[in-house]
């Protein structure tokens, strides 16, 4: 099976952050491979190991994104395409989806796989947008994948249960990080990644210009979450404090 896995470099949400004049500032400029995308890469590698085939990663981003792409290659992806952009601050999900749809228009593949969302914005739109633009059958929020001849079997986490969905290939799928633990690249993988092909593609060579990619949504600024104050903390004899809090939930908070 030929897998294309779309990956993205994102800020590390665990790194400290602050807001100055509505702008988001992260002390350490830590950029990492989006965790959901890492799971998508891992699952493609597992299926390739089982059934054979090829895993190619595709990433849209500035020149810095090549570090993230290298990581996916070190995990075991066979090759990569880096769609190079000048900046990426103003693109929204629709912009990314239009670039990807254009890139995949004339490509041959069995499965187009993406993380279900970016861990910084949690929008979760690009996957189903690309699928619709390419008229591909798709499933989102996959927690398990199996491959069969001409088919991808997706276990999807739905609202009330898990849905087993059979997609004819070619198809698109978005992956949850609940499906696996992405492997940590070992030294051999890291060394090998340096020799793996990484093709750079300019937006203009895809026939796209900035006007085609104008976002319909704009981030005006960031603000602190309304601070949730720590309330009362009860320490002491378990029996006593348990009963006291139960009473307060009734008389003070009025929630039981």
């Amino acid at each position: 099976m030929k897998f294309y896995v779309c990956i993205k470099m994102v800020p590390d949400v665990n790194a400290p952050l602050q807001i100055k004049d509505g702008k988001l500032i992260q002390d350490a400029d830590r950029q990492i491979l989006n965790a959901y995308d890492a799971s998508a890469v891992e699952e493609a590698l597992v299926l390739k190991e089982k059934h054979g085939g090829e895993v190619e990663v595709v990433s849209i981003g500035t020149s810095k994104a090549s570090e993230t792409i290298r990581k996916a290659l070190a995990m075991g992806a066979d090759k990569a395409t880096h769609i190079v952009t000048e900046g990426n601050g103003d693109y929204d999900s629709g912009s990314y989806a239009r670039i990807l749809a254009r890139f995949f228009e004339n490509k041959e593949y069995d499965v187009l796989s993406l993380g279900k969302q970016s861990q910084d914005t949690d929008a979760g739109l690009t996957g189903s947008m690309v699928a619709e633009m390419l008229n591909l059958p798709y499933a989102t929020n996959a927690v398990g994948l199996e491959a069969e001849e001409g088919k991808l079997i997706v276990k999807r986490q739905g609202d009330t249960g898990q849905e087993m969905i059979e997609l004819p290939t070619p198809c698109a799928v978005t992956c949850s990080n609940d499906m696996n633990e992405p492997r940590i690249p070992n030294l051999k993988g890291i060394m090998a990644s340096k020799r793996k092909p990484m093709e750079q593609v300019e937006l203009s060579s895809l026939g796209l210009n900035e006007d085609d990619l104008t976002a319909s949504t704009t981030v005006l600024g960031y603000e602190e979450k309304p601070e949730r104050e720590a309330g009362k903390k009860f320490e002491g004899e378990a029996d006593e404090i348990a009963r006291e809090v139960a009473q307060l939930l009734d008389t003070e908070a009025n929630v039981i």
């Binding site: 947008m129 609202d159 898990q162």
Partner: protein, 328 residues
């Protein structure tokens, strides 16, 4: 869009034969926005038995209800739902199309936006109309901060986190529009093989007034029994942290957090949960938070209204007993 009279369309989700409360929260908010600026608010319901929900919908002020009824909607599948919503979007021509944020909504929102060339704001905690579009607040960076985002376009899709708005009844008589719908097997791109581990008679976390959530501190069957007992006396839904769903102790559909469900019940009781940011991202908007944890420095205490420092195995039995007394 304040300049002209337009339509705000609300999607009404059905689960287990009932209208989802989160959909009615969104409808209540849309009705209020519409009244402010002289727009009309309409609703769409897609279900095997869609027409039976008109009464429940018009109670919240929708002046027109689009009905898409077909046996194919028995279980969620993205292709038929998308086809139905495209059809309704094209006939209602709304300036705003609002949804409650659920896994089913997330499954089609991007595709619907791409199909209709519409702008889209997913998973917002609030939204308002502005000239030519919508302005919304979105929790980002694992819900640590809020982004103020605007979307411009003739049609803007918005999905709203559950618990963001209060219900407000506003009885009206709705015009009913039956939408023709049919789907060939050939159009059905994917096949739904089966639904596994449907939670059955458990309480839907997005709809629950109270949630009891279990974390790593709940180590054994004895702990799980205490969680179930507490949930039962409170008529609460049971949720779990990622540690426990990954370990297979609780069903994955019960996971609360950035990856799982985002909930905002009236009462959230975190039992043996330390409060990692990924978990907090899924529950920080709960009205009242109670934390039970033996580590006094657990980060969950920083956001808890009532923090009980203690061993859950010692705290829960008297806690449950006292609540039983209050309830009687």
């Amino acid at each position: 869009m304040n300049k002209r009279m337009s339509t705000i369309l609300t999607h009404i989700a059905i689960a287990d034969g009932k209208i989802k409360r989160s959909s009615l929260e969104v409808l209540s908010h849309c009705k209020q926005l519409a009244d402010q600026d002289g727009h009309s608010v309409e609703a769409v319901v897609v279900d095997t038995n869609a027409s039976s929900f008109v009464e429940g919908i018009q109670k919240y002020g929708a002046s027109k209800v689009y009905i898409v009824e077909d046996p194919i909607f028995k279980n969620h599948m993205n292709t038929p739902l998308l086809k139905a919503l495209v059809k309704v979007t094209e006939s209602a021509n709304p300036s705003v199309f609002a949804f409650a944020s659920t896994e089913s909504t997330k499954d089609i929102l991007g595709a619907l936006a791409a199909n209709q060339n519409a702008a889209v704001l997913p998973d917002v905690s609030s939204f308002e109309l502005m000239d030519g579009g919508v302005k919304a607040k979105r929790p980002v960076m694992a819900a640590k901060i809020i982004s103020n985002t605007e979307a411009k376009g003739d049609t803007v899709l918005v999905s709203v986190r559950s618990g963001s708005y209060d219900l407000a009844e506003n009885e009206t008589t709705a015009e009913v529009a039956n939408v023709d719908f049919s789907m060939d097997d050939s159009e059905l791109k994917a096949t739904l093989k089966e639904i596994i581990s449907a939670s059955g008679d458990t309480i839907d976390l997005n709809e629950a007034e109270s949630i009891v959530a279990a974390g790593r501190g709940v180590k054994d069957e004895e702990g799980q029994k205490l969680i179930s007992e507490l949930a039962e006396v409170l008529n609460a839904g049971i949720g779990a942290s990622r540690a426990l769903t990954e370990a297979g102790i609780y069903d994955p559909s019960l996971q609360i957090g950035q990856t799982g469900k985002v909930v905002s019940p009236q009462l959230y009781i975190a039992v043996g949960i330390s409060g990692a940011i990924q978990h907090v991202a899924g529950m920080a908007n709960s009205k009242v938070i109670v934390a039970i944890n033996k580590d006094p420095d657990a980060p969950i205490f920083e956001i808890a209204d009532y923090g009980i420092v203690g061993d859950l195995y010692k705290v829960l039995p008297p806690f449950i007993e006292e609540i039983k007394k209050i309830k009687n």
